[in-house]
Amino acid sequence: MSTAGRASLATLVAIAIFVFGVPLVWTIDPDATDPTHRLAALSLAHPLGTDEIGRDVLSRLAHGGQITLVVGVAAMVTALLVGVAVGGVAGFYGGVVDGLLMRLTDAMLAIPSFFLVLVVVTVVGSAIPVLVLVIGGLSWMPVARVVYGETLRWKHAEFVVAAESLGVPPWQVFVRHVLPQATPVLLVSATLGVGTAILTESAISYLGLGVQPPTPSWGSMLQRAQQYVFTAPTLAFYPGAAIVLIVLAFNFLGDGLRDVLDPRARTRTSGRPPA
C-alpha cells in the first residue's frame, strides 16, 4: 500500500487507542463539572484545559471520540447492508424490481439528504441508534450502485450459472458467489463511507440535533465552543482538528486500499463518493 495509506492506518489505530485507552487511565468523569475552573487553560489537573462549565476537555475528547467513531462505523455498516440488499436484489432479479429499486436509488441521490435528516430528527428525536439508522439510511446509494454493477457483471459468469444449475437457492448464489467478487470495491467504499458518516454526524451534532448533551461527541463539543471562540479558541480547536484528522485518515486509507484492491480504478478520481 502507499505510504499515505499506511500512515493513515497507523493514525487510525492511534486514534482508536486514544479514544478507548485514555478513559481507562484518565478517569475524570467527562460530565463532571468544576465550576471554580471554568474555561481553564492547560494545567496538570486538566492537560487540555476545561470547557465553559468546567468539564475536563481531555476526558470529553476521548469519550466524544468513542461516540463519533462508533456512530461513524455503525452508520457505514447500515449503509453497506442496505446498499448490498438493494443493489443485489435489483441486479440479480432484474425486470420490474430492478427498475423500481434503481429509480429509487437515483431519486435518493438527487435529493439533498441533509434536509431529510432534519425531517427525521424532528419527528423521532435523536437517540444514538436513530442517528446511526438515519445517516446510514441516507447514504447507501453509492454502495447500491457498485453492487448492482458488479452483480450484472458476474451473474452470467460460468461459475454462477453452474451454481444455479446445481440447484443452489438464489440468495445463496448471490452471497457465496457474486458478492465476494464485489468485496474489494465494497471495502474501499466502506472505508470512504466512514469518513462521510463522521462528517454528517458531527454536522448534525453541531447543530444541536444529534448527540444530545451532556453526552459528548466531537461535533456536539463544537456546538458550545463557537460561543466561546473569542475567549477560548482552543475549545473549538481540539474537536475540529480531531475530526479533520480522522476523516483525512479514512479517506487516504480508502484511496490506498483502492490502489491495491481495484487496479481498474487507479486513475479515477478519489475522495468521498459524489453523494
Binding site: 425531517v119 424532528t122 462528517l199 453541531y206 447543530l207 479517506n251 478520481t269
Partner: protein, 300 residues
C-alpha cells in the same frame, strides 16, 4: 422526483411515532385531545390527508406552521431568495476557482504545485463545513477585523457594498463543500482527454498548444465535469443548513433548523419538498448545459 420526496416525507412524518400521532398520547384532557385532532384533521385516513396536502401544495399552499401559525409557503418565500443568493454565489465561486485549479493541475501533472493542490483538496474534503466557518470567523472577523462574521447586512448600512462584504465568508465556506470534488473531476477529466488520439493529431498538424488545449481538449474535458457539478448540487444545498447557522444567515437552511428544534413538522416537510424542487430544477438546467456542450446527447 418532487412527488417522491413529498410522499417520503409526508408519510414518514405522519406514520412515525412522535409525529402527529403523539398528540393522541399527550397528557391533556380527553376533550382537548379530540379538539386538536379534529382541528388538524387527524381523524381522517392518512391517504386522504396526503391527497389534501398535495392538492394544496400544487396551488402553493403548504399548510400552516405549527410553531408560528403562519402559512408555511410564506415563511419559506421570505427566506428562499437569501438561500438562492448564498448557494448561487457559492456554486459560481466553486466553478470559477475549481475549474481553473483542476486545469492547472492537469497541465502541470506531478509538479510540486500539483502535489500541493492535491493535499489541499484532500484536507478540504475532510474539514467539517461548520468548523471551517468558525476558523474563518476567528481569523478574518476577530483577528484581522476585515469582514463581518454574521448576518446578511448591517443594521445601519444596507448598500450593495455592505451586502457583498457580508457574502464573502458564508459563500467561501459553502463553496468548500464541493470545491475539492470539482477540482479533482476537472483534473482527472482533462488528463484523460489529453491522452486521446485526436489531440495528438491536432498537435501533430502544428496547432499552437493554446488552441489544442483551448479548442479541443477543454471542450471535451468539461462535459463530465458539468455532470459532476449537477450531482454535487444536493450536497451544496445540504451545506446551507450548517453554513447559515454558523453565519446567522437568514435563509431556508436556518429556518429548517429552527423548525426541527421546535418540532414544527409541517414546516420541515414544506422545506424538504421545496429544496427537493430546487435540486430537480437545477439538475434540469445542468442537463440542458450538458446538451450544449455535447451535441451527441439529447434531453430525454
Amino acid at each position: 422526483m418532487i412527488l417522491f420526496t413529498s410522499v417520503l416525507t409526508f408519510f414518514f412524518v405522519n406514520l412515525a411515532p412522535g409525529g402527529p400521532a403523539s398528540i393522541t398520547s399527550m397528557t391533556v384532557t380527553e376533550e382537548q385531545r379530540q379538539a386538536l385532532i379534529r382541528e388538524m384533521g387527524l381523524d381522517r385516513p392518512v391517504l386522504q390527508r396526503y391527497a389534501d396536502w398535495l392538492g394544496g401544495a400544487v396551488r402553493g399552499d403548504l399548510g400552516t406552521s405549527l410553531t408560528t401559525d403562519l402559512p408555511v409557503a410564506g415563511l419559506i418565500g421570505d427566506r428562499l431568495p437569501n438561500t438562492l443568493l448564498l448557494s448561487g454565489v457559492a456554486l459560481a465561486l466553486a466553478c470559477l476557482v475549481g475549474i481553473p485549479m483542476g486545469i492547472v493541475q492537469a497541465l502541470r501533472r506531478d509538479s510540486v504545485l500539483d502535489r500541493v493542490l492535491d493535499v489541499v483538496s484532500a484536507i478540504g474534503l475532510a474539514v467539517p463545513v461548520f468548523w471551517l466557518g468558525i476558523v474563518l470567523i476567528l481569523f478574518f472577523a476577530v483577528d484581522l477585523r476585515l469582514l463581518p462574521s454574521a448576518g446578511i447586512a448591517s443594521a445601519v448600512d444596507s448598500s450593495i457594498g455592505d451586502r457583498v462584504v457580508h457574502l464573502v465568508l458564508p459563500t467561501v465556506t459553502l463553496a468548500t463543500t464541493i470545491l475539492p470534488t470539482v477540482v479533482r473531476f476537472m483534473r482527472t477529466s482533462l488528463l484523460e482527454v489529453l491522452g486521446m488520439e485526436y489531440l495528438r493529431t491536432a498537435d501533430a498538424k502544428g496547432l499552437p498548444a493554446r488552441l489544442v488545449i483551448g479548442r479541443h481538449a477543454l471542450r471535451n474535458a468539461l462535459i463530465p465535469v458539468v455532470s459532476a457539478i449537477g450531482a454535487l448540487i444536493p450536497r451544496l444545498l445540504g451545506g446551507t443548513v450548517v453554513t447559515e447557522s454558523v453565519f446567522g444567515w437568514p435563509g431556508m437552511g436556518r429556518l429548517a433548523l429552527d423548525a426541527a428544534n421546535g418540532r414544527d413538522y409541517t414546516l420541515v416537510t414544506g422545506i424538504a419538498v421545496v429544496v427537493a424542487a430546487i435540486a430537480v430544477v437545477s439538475s434540469i438546467v445542468v442537463d440542458v448545459a450538458y446538451t450544449r456542450l455535447d451535441p451527441r446527447v439529447t434531453v430525454a
